[in-house]
Amino acid sequence: MSAIRYEAPTSIPDAIRLMQADPAATVMAGGTDLLVQFRAGIKRPSAFIDIKRIPDLVRFSIDPNGLTLGAAVSAAELGESVEFKRLWPGIAEAAALIGSTQIQGRGSLGGNLCNASPAADTPCPLIVNHADCVIAGPEGRRSIPVEQFVIAPGKTVLKAGEFLVTIRVPRPRPITADAYLRLTPRSEMDIAVVGCAVSLTLDTNGVCTAARVALAAVAPTPVLVPEAAQALIGSRLDEDALSRAAAAASAAARPIDDKRGTIVYRRQIAGVLTRRAAAIAWRRAKGGN
């Protein structure tokens, strides 16, 4: 068999040209999923196109419009930003849950999306924060909401010659906060049995005026649950609202039975995590931690 090439383009057009020239080549960011899949024989690329030499892919900025996050910025580097953690604690806590310190030194939020695991931690908090994926390809750029990016386990909307370049997260509105919780049997180094992200906006009286709820690991792709959000809107997160949100989340969950959990258990936990994550987001929006 012929040797596998390594390419390190320094611009987005160069990366697109390399991908067009060789459809069997694969884009690599941190490589923490890709190289494991490669060594296991699950992926057999003809070349690795390392996008980390493209400046826009490995930097991020936070301005009045929000976060512009290069798809290959490592979770560890992003997590060192105090401003990032202050504005999006839910995205930050999801990113900090992925793998080990070592894995976070390589793995990126862009890679987490492109790997398209049903149990991925960061897509859900990105979704509740109205984040968009900016995709570059032979026909130019396009932008789609994160909830439309993953279409099946391991599959995304990316077409031949396209790759994810940036994730854009709008700045939260006033009195808005997010939270992410996941259940794992171990406290560290594990994969979600269920994950739940919530974002809430309150008015000055503490009444919820806008909400987003998304679930991980309960369906082939992340699940946005508008019924759970509706249950929270108009309330001060009283017991009735939380119970209705939890029931809506359990009802929206379409999990499988596997070694990490059963269908019945995952449905139940989807409700429990929704209730708890909503309470954390509410407390944060009111100025607490």
Binding site: S100, Q102, G105
Partner: protein, 164 residues
């Protein structure tokens, strides 16, 4: 038809020294360090990023060298276990590993020491909980974790004392 692709030439810095080596496109940095450069202190455990035995610093950041391609090292700065002692003096983490006998077979030790050094660089005075979470990706199958954590906490205390 078999196409012979020439090997990739990499110019890099390892433990503050300029180093050149040849590698294949899919070769890991772990493999290049051990088999091309001859720095065998970095160990191979799982080669899937789960065990931490191959931990190195890449441009100062803690990473699993099994999940870094060797060609990525071009122009970067790599620190391995061989570069942790300075001018013949063991790093406080190394000294405390000896003091506490925080190893048995030793396969995990280089990874633990590199990871613990990175911890103390990032958080000079960690709580035990912070140390345990930071090192959660380093697995030890014989000594267990308690002596290792004691060694790391004492190294932190010693470093703090030295800087006061």
């Amino acid at each position: 038809m078999v196409t012979e692709v020439s090997r990739i030439h990499v110019d890099t810095t390892i433990n503050s020294e300029p180093v050149e080596f040849l590698c294949d496109g899919s070769q890991s940095l772990l493999s290049a360090l051990r088999d091309e450069v001859g720095l065998t202190g970095t160990k191979e455990g799982c080669s899937t990023g789960d065990c931490g035995a191959c931990s190195i610093l890449l441009d100062g950041r803690l990473v699993p060298s099994c999940l870094v391609l060797a060609a990525e090292a071009q122009g970067r700065s790599v620190t391995t276990i061989e570069g942790i002692a300075q001018d013949g003096h063991l790093h406080p983490v190394q000294q405390q590993f000896l003091q506490h006998a925080a190893l048995q077979c030793g396969i995990c030790t280089p990874g633990f020491i590199v990871a613990a050094k990175a911890l103390l660089d990032a958080i000079p005075n960690p709580t035990e909980t912070e140390a345990r979470y930071w090192l959660a990706g380093n697995l030890c199958r014989c000594t267990g974790y308690d002596k290792i954590i004691r060694a790391v906490m004492d190294a932190a205390a010693e470093t703090q004392k030295a800087t006061v």
